[in-house]
């Protein structure tokens, strides 16, 4: 079933958009329903600068950030003390808590402290942590294993 603008009913229903009703009386919800709650719209304030990264180590396990989790990282936000930030250090993307210790900026993890000198670029600030509660439901492969299926 195709409507005038070429969009199928199936596509619109799948996208959570309103569809035309065939009854001769009007749909009382038509002026009110604007769409379901959207994760993208609510969790991503700046789409152009927000990236999804996968956690590949136990550096911040004590903050509840586990290997295999995803992080939404916004490159438009400046690092502030206490926030979880991503930096590029020695050619690698690293996470840690941003702190000012004795006047110096430092990246703190459960395992080490990395001083943030001029060479160490802040990459972005983590805003949202995605942790999957159901085992084996992820399509993602755990980092470091190529070609492995889901299920832990």
């Amino acid at each position: 079933m195709r409507s005038k603008d070429g969009d199928t009913q199936a596509r619109r229903l799948a996208a959570g958009l309103a569809v035309e009703t065939t009854a001769s009386f009007p749909n009382p919800a038509q002026d009110y329903f604007e769409g379901h709650v959207s994760l993208d719209r609510n969790l991503i304030k700046h789409p152009a600068s927000t990236y999804v990264l996968r956690v590949g180590s136990e550096a911040l396990v004590n903050l509840g950030i586990h290997p295999g989790d995803e992080l939404l990282v916004d490159r438009s936000l400046p690092p502030r003390p206490g926030t979880v930030v991503v930096v590029v250090h020695d050619g690698e993307h690293r996470i840690g808590r941003f702190q000012i210790i004795e006047g110096r900026a430092v990246l703190v993890t459960d395992l080490e402290e990395i001083p943030l000198t001029v060479d160490v670029e802040p990459w972005g600030v983590a805003t949202i942590l995605i942790h999957h509660l159901l085992p084996g439901e992820r399509t993602a492969r755990a980092p470091g294993r190529r070609g492995a299926g889901g299920g832990e």
């Binding site: 152009a48 996968r54 180590s57 980092p143």
Partner: protein, 408 residues
């Protein structure tokens, strides 16, 4: 831009000599400054680069179009957060209208935000016209500066730059025009700016006249210009491996025609004419080239019909000969559904079921991804032997959930 994206995805490439390779990992199409300094030429074949001892450290990356498209989207979206009048010109270029007072500060702010949000360094040029802005941008890249603002230069300084710019490097001037302008004594951008506008328009086109006037500081092409209607749609690629059987060539034509048809539908167009060709390497002793033109009546965007029409070249193919290229060209394009049919040349029930089939394939592709379903062998997951070789591909770290950029 391509090298810059590779460096964002893999920070270890930061100061290495890096090149991005063309389709089938053929030649260097994007080079980092370090690679240029080592002497890697634009378009230099990869096999040559690998052989030279002094180029042993050069890292070659296959074209990661998936990621370049993603970063292009971010690049343009970021610029749009700071500027209202934006014209998305190409994958990595935008024209932006800046405020008259202190445009350099506005440009620097945009460049800074692009750097922070995407990691991409940029070169920018400011001018009174788009053509001058392009000259300025080219100059910025030449002198390794992020920004050149011609509106802050004296007219004499601008003239000096135009006099030092060969006309072939002016936006819109290709080889043929360069050769055509030479007898008139037009060799530099300054010559073109000073040439008689009327002569340019009469002997060539109003487009050339506009370019000349723009070089002189008169804006003729507004930012946000709407491109003219497409006249043709072509999909032609060199094969990743030579094909010598009709069975395999039919697969190639199916894939190429399906892609051309998908683009046609994406643009809301239909085609009335299709040209299909296959050829072998021109470096061979006896290269072959076969081309057939087929009328599509009525004009269509239906993948099944376009694929079937593309097969028209197969009877001309010589089995056993190694072909390395195929192509599809769709012309006589009209907006889809524009022409009411004068008479039905096909069974309406069949036409309807074809449309439903095409729509269903579209829906499945949109929902599950392009490689979920396809016509004929294009629906198979195993990539075909002849598919474009990209053997040095970086992971699709921002476009694939399974291969996301990882933090340690």
């Amino acid at each position: 831009m391509f090298v810059s994206v590779e460096r964002v995805l893999d920070p270890t490439l930061g100061s290495a000599p890096v090149v991005v390779l063309s389709n089938n990992d053929g030649c260097a199409v994007s080079r980092s400054d370090e690679a240029k300094q080592l002497g890697v030429a634009m378009g230099q074949p990869w096999f040559e680069i690998r052989e030279r001892p002094h180029l042993a450290g050069v890292v070659g990356c296959s074209s990661n179009y998936e990621e370049y498209g993603a970063f292009s989207s971010r690049f343009h979206a970021t610029i749009a957060t700071l500027a209202a009048g934006v014209e998305v010109y190409s994958v990595d270029e935008s024209f932006v209208t800046l405020p008259r007072t202190d445009p350099a500060a506005a440009a620097a702010q945009i460049q800074d935000r692009v750097r922070r949000w995407t990691g991409l360094p940029t070169a920018a040029g400011i001018g009174a016209t788009k053509t001058l802005a392009k000259v300025a941008q080219r100059h910025a890249k030449d002198i390794h500066q992020p920004l050149v603002d011609l509106t802050s230069w004296t007219p004499a300084e601008v003239d000096q730059l135009l006099a030092a710019t060969p006309v072939s490097e002016v936006w819109g001037i290709g080889d043929r025009l360069t050769r055509g302008l030479a007898p008139l004594g037009i060799h530099t951008a300054l010559d073109l700016a000073r040439a008689n506008a009327g002569v340019l328009r009469r002997r060539w086109s109003v487009v050339l006249e506009r370019t000349a006037r723009e070089l002189g500081g008169v804006a003729c092409m507004p930012v946000g210009f709407v491109p003219a209607d497409r006249k043709q749609l072509m999909y032609s690629r060199m094969l990743g491996a030579t094909v010598s059987t009709k069975t395999e060539m039919r697969q190639v034509l199916t894939a190429y025609a399906a892609t051309a048809a998908r683009r046609l539908r994406a643009h809301g167009l239909e085609a009335a004419l299709l040209q299909t060709w296959i050829s072998s390497s021109r470096f061979r002793e006896h290269p072959l080239h076969h081309s057939v033109t087929v009328a599509l009546d009525p004009p269509t965007a239906d993948p099944a019909e376009i694929i079937r029409a593309a097969y028209a070249v197969l009877p001309h193919m010589r089995e056993g000969h190694d072909y390395n290229r195929a192509g599809i060209l769709l012309t006589s394009l009209t907006p889809a559904g524009a022409q009411p049919l004068l008479w039905e040349t096909q069974d309406p029930a069949q036409a309807k079921s074809r449309r439903q089939l095409a729509a269903a394939v579209d829906d499945i592709s949109t929902k599950f991804g392009r490689h979920t379903i396809g016509y004929g062998s294009t629906g198979l997951r195993t990539p075909p032997r002849w598919q474009m070789r990209r053997e040095r591909l970086s992971p699709p770290a921002t476009t694939s959930w399974d291969q996301l950029l990882t933090v340690r």
